[in-house]
């Protein structure tokens, strides 16, 4: 490839604010800072794990990247092209390159359509008009994700949760995308099924040079699948590094706390847990300065005033903290 150095996805200073409307006249009384200036890149065949607790904006970030929700500001580049302000029509060719897998395998499939038609729909939208041709492609996709082509004529409710997620994966693969956003794609599945689906995603990645933006709150899963990890807290990325660095040498106090909360399957190991106090502050009125200062065990006066920039403290290791 000529431009293999160009990242599949480059996001710069992406923001998504939702207006809070109140009263009879629906006046805007405030903003929810769901995503408040995040930047990251994903290379060919790479996986970026986006982690954080519920409500930190990771799902909104994933949706904004696909322009399923319009970003407030910032830029999104897909394969070197800025798609942030493309019109619907101009965006369509880029839709082929990026697809999404949803968390809930039940509501992500139209209950009134055959599984085969669900997977074939992206093909139909993108001009594969011959039904026979579509069905052959869908059958191949079914086989690839571990379903029987005979099941194309079944309805979604006739599948198990794991099988439905495979249908969702097949649909995402149909257009031959380069990037797949996985919005908690295994969180709703049983642990044993999670492993199968993750293995499938990894096999597909090797086979097709896919890039993933893998959104999850499950650190064990993220560690297993990701090359890089971005930790989000209240709409901002607080730490961004390769997976090994994050797990071996976490730099941000929030990352430390997250990691200490991961259960270790060995009762003999006694660890010092850092349990965070308090709740996540509201994204409507985020704390001044560093968003994390209200819960940080190492807080100093400066944290309350000045927002720490995301700095590179070691090659490839970015942290947003005054103390590092």
């Amino acid at each position: 490839m000529a431009n293999s150095n160009v990242p599949v996805l480059a996001v710069r200073d992406l923001k998504k604010h939702f207006p809070v409307k109140k009263g009879l006249l629906r006046r805007t009384v405030g903003q929810v800072y769901a995503v408040d200036g995040i930047s990251f890149t994903i290379g060919v065949g790479e996986t970026l794990g986006l982690v954080g607790e519920s409500g930190c904006g990771k799902t909104t970030a994933g949706r904004a990247v696909l322009r399923l929700t319009e970003p407030t500001s910032g830029t999104i580049e897909v394969g070197g092209t800025d798609i942030t302000h493309l019109s619907k029509g101009d965006l369509r060719p880029y839709r082929r390159q990026m697809q999404i897998i949803f968390q809930d395998p039940f509501s992500s499939l139209n209950p009134r359509m055959f599984a085969g038609d669900i997977v074939g729909e992206p093909l139909l939208v993108h001009g594969v008009s011959s039904r026979k041709e579509r069905q052959e492609m869908v059958a191949a996709l079914f086989a690839r994700v571990g379903l029987r082509p005979a099941q194309m004529l079944n309805y979604p409710h006739q599948f198990s949760g794991g099988q439905r997620q495979r249908i969702g994966i097949a649909r995402a693969l149909a257009l031959g995308p380069k990037l797949i956003v996985g919005d908690e794609p295994v969180s709703a599945l049983d642990v044993s099924i999670q492993a199968q689906v993750i293995n499938l995603l990894q096999d597909l990645q090797r086979e097709r040079q896919l890039s993933y933006l893998f959104i999850s709150h499950n650190l064990a899963v993220v560690e297993h699948i990701s090359h890089h990890i971005a930790v989000m807290y209240l709409g901002r990325i607080v730490e961004y590094a390769d997976t090994r660095s994050i797990f071996v040498r976490p730099q941000h106090p929030y990352t430390e706390a997250l990691l200490s909360a991961v259960p270790v399957p060995d009762p003999a190991i006694k660890r010092q847990k850092r349990v965070l106090q308090g709740d996540v502050p509201s994204p409507v009125n985020p704390p001044s300065g560093c968003h994390f200062h209200t819960r940080c065990p190492y807080v100093v006066p400066r944290c309350k005033i000045e927002s720490p920039p995301l700095r590179e403290i070691a090659p490839g290791h970015h942290v947003s903290c005054h103390l590092r």
């Binding site: 949706r63 696909l66 399923l68 619907k88 965006l91 369509r92 839709r95 082929r96 990026m98 697809q99 999404i100 949803f102 968390q103 809930d104 509501s107 992500s108 499939l109 139209n110 209950p111 009134r112 669900i118 729909e121 992206p122 939208v125 993108h126 309805y155 409710h157 006739q158 969702g168 649909r171 149909a174 257009l175």
Partner: protein
């Protein structure tokens, strides 16, 4: 290890239902009441279509000597005060009822579905404006509105259908809108958007089919109420003009004066109306289940 007969199980689950007789047998076993409803509706439709074959006597021919004739003999269900054959009038009346019922229901549903889908899917001020109009329409009783419309449009079959259809619109629009509101947020709609599907196509392909279940029940109930409203309008003299036989007017002409002396003039048209409405309701209930793929297993 137990041997599972997959074929038998799948047959029971409806997996092999593909069409033709086996389908009919399958659904009859599964929904006996629905089959009864289907039979009633079928009989109703056949009666309407083959009215002149089933009742060769002219329903408008009068015979002074047969005035208020008792049921039996030539006049199977008796004759009214003008000596017109009741059997023939009821059979031909099915045509009017079918035309009005199906016509008003279809017109009401087409308008209601379009408005509801648009209102729910687009949201915002479109939704606000449409819903307020629907509020105003719903604040008037259905019959009162139909009466006003029928009176201003003048009595004819077409105007009766319009007069009955318009008041049906708000309830259809409401039902479709409320389902649409929740459906448009579903991930499968989002998935369609992610592949670049147009909004109109999403609304028709992904949202509309999922609003069908409550809509079918409502539509069949409305078929019944349209027939009843036509009867009421004709009862008030605002419906189908004379001399066409209408079940509602047959009731109205006889109810006050002859209910004691010639009860068959009231009983038979009344029975025809009740039976038809009952049949459509039974069929509608079964249809809702049959058309939902989730109910088949």
């Amino acid at each position: 290890m137990a041997i599972i007969n997959h074929d038998a199980e799948l047959t029971r689950a409806g997996a092999y239902v593909t069409g033709g007789w086996s389908t009919i047998v399958f659904f009859t076993r599964r929904y006996p009441l629905g089959a009864v409803g289907a039979l009633i509706v079928l009989a109703f439709i056949l009666t309407a279509v083959f009215a002149s074959v089933m009742a060769p006597i002219d329903p408008t021919a009068t015979n002074a000597r047969a005035s208020l004739a008792k049921p039996g003999g030539v006049y199977l269900l008796g004759a009214d005060f003008m000596g017109r054959d009741m059997y023939s009038r009821i059979v031909h009346g099915a045509r009017i009822s079918l035309a009005v019922g199906v016509g008003a229901m279809s017109l009401g549903c087409i308008l209601g579905v379009s408005i509801g889908l648009m209102s729910g899917y687009l949201g915002g001020w479109v939704d606000l404006a449409t819903q307020r109009v629907m509020d105003i329409m719903q604040s008037l009783p259905l019959l009162v509105m139909a009466i006003v419309m029928a009176a201003s449009l003048g009595p004819s079959l077409r105007n009766t259908i319009i007069a009955i259809a318009i008041p049906l619109v708000p309830s259809v629009a409401r039902v479709v809108r409320s389902s649409t509101l929740s459906l448009r947020e579903q991930p499968f709609v989002e998935a369609a958007r992610a592949v670049g599907m147009g909004e109109l196509r999403i609304a028709i392909r992904h949202v509309l089919p999922n609003t069908l279940a409550p809509l079918i029940v409502l539509a069949t109930a409305q078929l019944g109420s349209a027939i009843l409203t036509e009867a009421s309008l004709s009862f008030l003299g605002l419906g189908i003009p004379e001399p066409h036989p209408s079940w509602g007017r047959m009731l109205s002409e006889s109810a006050a004066e002859y209910v004691r002396s010639a009860p068959w003039l009231v009983i038979f048209p009344g029975l025809a109306i009740s039976l038809t409405v009952f049949g459509t309701n039974l069929l509608g209930d079964a249809l809702r289940d049959i058309l939902d793929p989730r109910e088949r297993t």
